[in-house]
Amino acid sequence: MRGLEARYGPIAAVRGVDLDVCRGEIVALLGANGAGKTSTLQAIVGLLPARRGLVEFAGEDVSGLPAEKIVRRGIALTPEGRRLFATLTVAENLALGGGDEATRERLLERFPVLRERLDQPAGSLSGGEQQQLAIARSLMSRPMLLLLDEPTLGLAPKLIASVFDLIARLREEERVSILLVEQNVHRALDVCDRAYVMRTGSVEAQGTPEELRGAGVERAYLGVA
């Protein structure tokens, strides 16, 4: 993605962001609240119209396409707050994710608790189960790139560790590249190959976790020691 700009009305949420995710990579997008991380993800999938710039995916310019078309090209977004269809059952949520029966079976093996809850409304699941469902729903379409927006938000510490384990395994087992937006900076840097740090809509720093830690980025931009 090159020079991406997106706005909410008069407010510039994303200002000229350049960002790459290579095949098989986990890339973290870090920053304080309001830095433009979620807006960047929304601009990638077309939910927030890009005013300028280019989003290229698998060699194709997808900027300006409607969200449903971008998603069908192989990008999936698991939104912040999970945003499951609460009154629909687990099975219906999965079905809406697309995909075939074999994919569904494979994901139910990966997330066995979902198989036990197939006929329950998604809103009745615990926070951890809902996060598993949200990720499984995104994986139903067998995306090449998975955008995860704050996947650990609101989860208990024990569950947070399991979500990061899952992210690390997904790359290997589902062969999916991941762009991860996360407030939990230490954990995100532990799991990613590279990271970008955003502030007020722009990328302020980028590099490998070691480079960013060495440069004191956690303290300088993210307010963590």
Binding site: P66, E68, F85, A86, T87, L88, A95, S141
Partner: protein
């Protein structure tokens, strides 16, 4: 007792019309957040379709099939021509558009057909009666209730068993996330309009089989009552719209039959008083929930 049974039958019959219209309104509202006041004109189109077809001697089974279909297609055209170009516009803009479409169609009916009511030449069996014990019941009223129940069951199955139906329920909860599932949002909205049009067509069949006359504004008071039913049932709740449609039908029939002679002119005011009372007790409506199509 005899009068009470008669009132129940009349209430079921009138309530069926309101319930079907309210269902269509509620379905579109759930997905788009729009109360489509031009829904009444879809109902009127149903009436004119019946008038035109019967006038040309088309057999009634074909009229029964064609009327909801014509209304469904008209609803899709309405979505495509008036509402799709405004996708993403504010609710106020959409609401004003729905009024504009409503008045536009009424004017088209006035200029293109007539401002005066057109009589619908219904088949003779519509006036048949059925004897159950000591009761004599108009067969059309029984058919009305039965058709409504079948339509409700069919709609429930459609919403629960088909991918498109599940997509509609999902759209009612979170339209943006549905797009993230790769579902074509325009298609879901278009089908919601189509289903609401078919329901308006069914309501028209049942209503005009009793009144046998249609004019350009026939749908207006009915869609307002259906809107009241949607509010009373709880915005976003389909069962709520149905239950409230029947409550409204029963209340109207009851007040019209029970109020003393000079007060019957105010029966609608009494119905509205009851609704205000119910909404004071349950502001979220009879079966209202915070969000979602249930």
């Amino acid at each position: 007792m005899h009068e009470l049974v008669q009132n129940v039958i009349n209430g079921l019959s009138l309530g069926s019309t309101y319930a079907l219209l309210a269902l269509g309104l509620a379905l579109v509202f759930s997905i788009m957040g729009l109360i489509n006041f031009a829904h009444g004109e879809l109902f009127t189109i149903g009436g004119y379709t019946m008038w035109w077809l019967f006038d040309r001697g088309v057999p009634w089974p074909l009229v029964v099939v064609l009327t909801p279909l014509v209304c469904g297609v008209a609803a899709m055209l309405m979505e495509r021509a008036a509402f799709r170009p405004l996708r993403g516009a504010t609710l106020v803009t959409l609401l004003i558009t729905s009024f504009a479409v409503s008045y536009f169609l009424q004017t088209v009916f006035q200029i293109g057909i007539s401002a005066a009511p057109e009589g619908i030449e219904l088949p003779g069996w519509v006036n048949d009666t059925v004897h159950v014990g000591s009761y004599t019941i108009a067969s059309v009223k029984l058919v009305t209730t039965a058709v409504t129940l079948v339509a409700l069951v069919a709609l429930t199955l459609f919403l629960r068993r088909t991918r498109l139906g599940v997509s509609m329920r999902a759209a009612a909860e979170d339209f943006e996330v549905l797009r993230l599932m790769g579902v074509n949002a325009n298609r879901v909205v278009l089908f919601a309009f189509a289903v609401s049009g078919v329901l308006a067509g069914l309501a028209a069949l049942l209503f005009f089989a009793t009144t046998a006359a249609v004019d350009p504004t026939t749908g207006t008071p009915l869609v307002i009552n259906a809107f009241i039913a949607v509010i009373l049932g709880g915005l976003g709740s389909l069962p709520g719209a149905v239950v409230a449609g029947f409550v409204l039908g029963f209340a109207e029939v009851l007040f019209e039959s029970r109020l003393p002679g000079s007060a019957t002119a105010f029966s609608n005011a009494f119905v509205l008083l009851v609704i205000i009372g119910l909404l004071l007790v349950r502001p979220q409506g009879l079966l209202g929930r915070p969000a979602g199509l249930t």
